[in-house]
């Protein structure tokens, strides 16, 4: 059964320096509060994993928490580039950032393989592109029945996956709905998992389209209202598009960014 914890204790207990950590979320339900707690606790040498690293990954990278990023699309959706990510890749600031780059289809299948206890997944992917030349984790594989050549990618099995969801019950059964992205796979692929939720309730009522992660598939659950802000939680609050716009100016400048971290993240919670 999942343990109900405070966010700070959950991060302290589950995320260690040097870990491979996935904070997943596909525009919706991004575990931003958990990312900030990682910055507050000054974790380093993390290998960060995410299909769509957005501004909370820009923040983690800018704060020096990461040594490597495994991803398929890194941007500020609807706004533009991630300047801290760029600065790390192009100038090694504040620390050099190694990258391992895939497509969405490849990343999604890597999580699926991880969740399925398989060492790899097969897809029709990357054909004709320059990605296999740069990414060692893309290899050809031959169908044993037809002889056709396809692409293999290795399983992703993060040390810890962190996701945000709408609700959990007191046993730690988690319910998420709306766009559920790749969160189930990311949690099931991980050795340990932390789910932050908008609220912990006595009983989960069935919801159309809801995904349920049973308590026995989750390590820990923390109640963190507004834990996805400035992204959104369907049924709770909308996306704060202005915050995404505002990030562009903050993140373009190292000093502005550093000040932002001190003033907005490293304040006591």
């Amino acid at each position: 059964m999942a343990e109900i914890v405070f966010l700070a204790d959950g991060i302290a207990g589950l995320v260690r320096d040097g870990d491979t950590v996935a904070l997943e979320g596909f525009t919706h339900l991004i575990p931003v509060a958990a990312g900030h707690e990682i910055i507050r606790q000054r974790r380093t040498d993390l290998t960060l994993v995410r299909m769509t690293p957005d501004i909370v990954y820009d923040q983690l990278i800018g704060a020096g928490c990461a040594r490597k990023l495994i991803f398929s699309w890194g941007g500020n959706p609807g706004v533009g580039s991630l300047h801290r990510f760029r600065d790390a890749v192009q100038h090694g600031w504040p620390v050099p950032l190694e990258i391992e780059e895939h497509s969405h289809a490849g990343m999604a299948n890597r999580y699926v393989a991880g969740a399925s206890g398989l060492p790899f997944a097969v897809l029709r992917g990357y054909t004709g592109t320059d990605l296999p030349r740069q990414t060692a984790t893309i290899k050809p594989i031959t169908c044993p029945f037809t002889g056709e050549q396809l692409t293999a990618v290795p399983a992703l099995n993060p040390d810890v996956t962190i996701v945000h969801a709408q609700r959990a019950d007191r046993a730690g059964n988690v319910q998420l709905w709306g766009i559920t992205g790749v969160q189930k796979e990311a949690v099931l692929a991980a050795k340990r998992s932390l789910v932050t939720v908008e609220e912990i309730v006595d009983e989960l009522e069935p919801r159309p389209g809801a995904t349920v992660l049973p308590a026995w598939a989750v390590t820990a659950v923390a109640e963190v209202p507004f834990g996805a802000k400035p992204s959104y939680a369907a049924g709770y609050y909308d996306r704060d598009n202005a915050a995404y716009q505002a990030w562009d100016a903050i993140s373009r400048d190292r000093e502005k960014f550093a000040r932002w971290v001190e003033e907005s993240v490293r304040v006591p919670a």
Binding site: F26, G74, G78, H104, A108, I179, T211
Partner: protein, 252 residues
Amino acid sequence: MNDYTADEMMSVAAARALRDGSSCFVGIGLPSTAANLARRTHAPNLTLVYESGCLGAKPSRLPLSIGDGELADTADAVVSVPEVFNYWLQPGRIDVGFLGAAQLDRFGNINTTVIGTNYADPKVRLPGAGGAPEIAASCGEVFIVLRQSPRAFVERVDFITSFGHGSGRGDRERLGLPGAGPTLVVTDLGLLRPDPETSELTLTELHPGVELDQVRAATGWKLKVSESLATTPAPTEDELRILRELKKASEP
């Protein structure tokens, strides 16, 4: 005569290319604007598929991201991200893939990864591939929409993020790519289509008021021009009104 911007002409021209009753895998930004405009004009039965897992989304305003709540709320079905790629995109169920690009070359290959030829030490690090490589591979055909400039329209892309026609006709077949690849490029200046013999992108339509020399100057390679170069019909009043309403409804 209507007054309209080059961007509006581009959105309208892109929207017109989408056939009613077809399905379209939509990236955010210009493609999403065009697809939503099409749904409100000539193609009410256009099925929009977003990579966030929203099948048949019918947003009332332009989504700001591929994961907007509006997309999930209005979709016929919301599926997981692995499912949208594996069950819906990969088997070739989607007719049209609608992509943007940072760089595009004369055979329709797309770069959204790095500017500069040294991947490890790029001049500019771009967002990366996202869903595009498999959209470009698996959709029945691919439409590309982007503003035309010598920086964007290059002889050869620095990095092939999404495969178009490679180095010319026959390359897709040789690689076993199922879809037809890029069949149309819509820009703020005109339309380009691959030459049936060589697959080289060829200017087939100029937008009203655009000079051929303007397009040549905005293209980083020696542009081929169709012998039967046509002029795009200007946006109709209806198209403009609906496009502007859509954009307005999407402002924060």
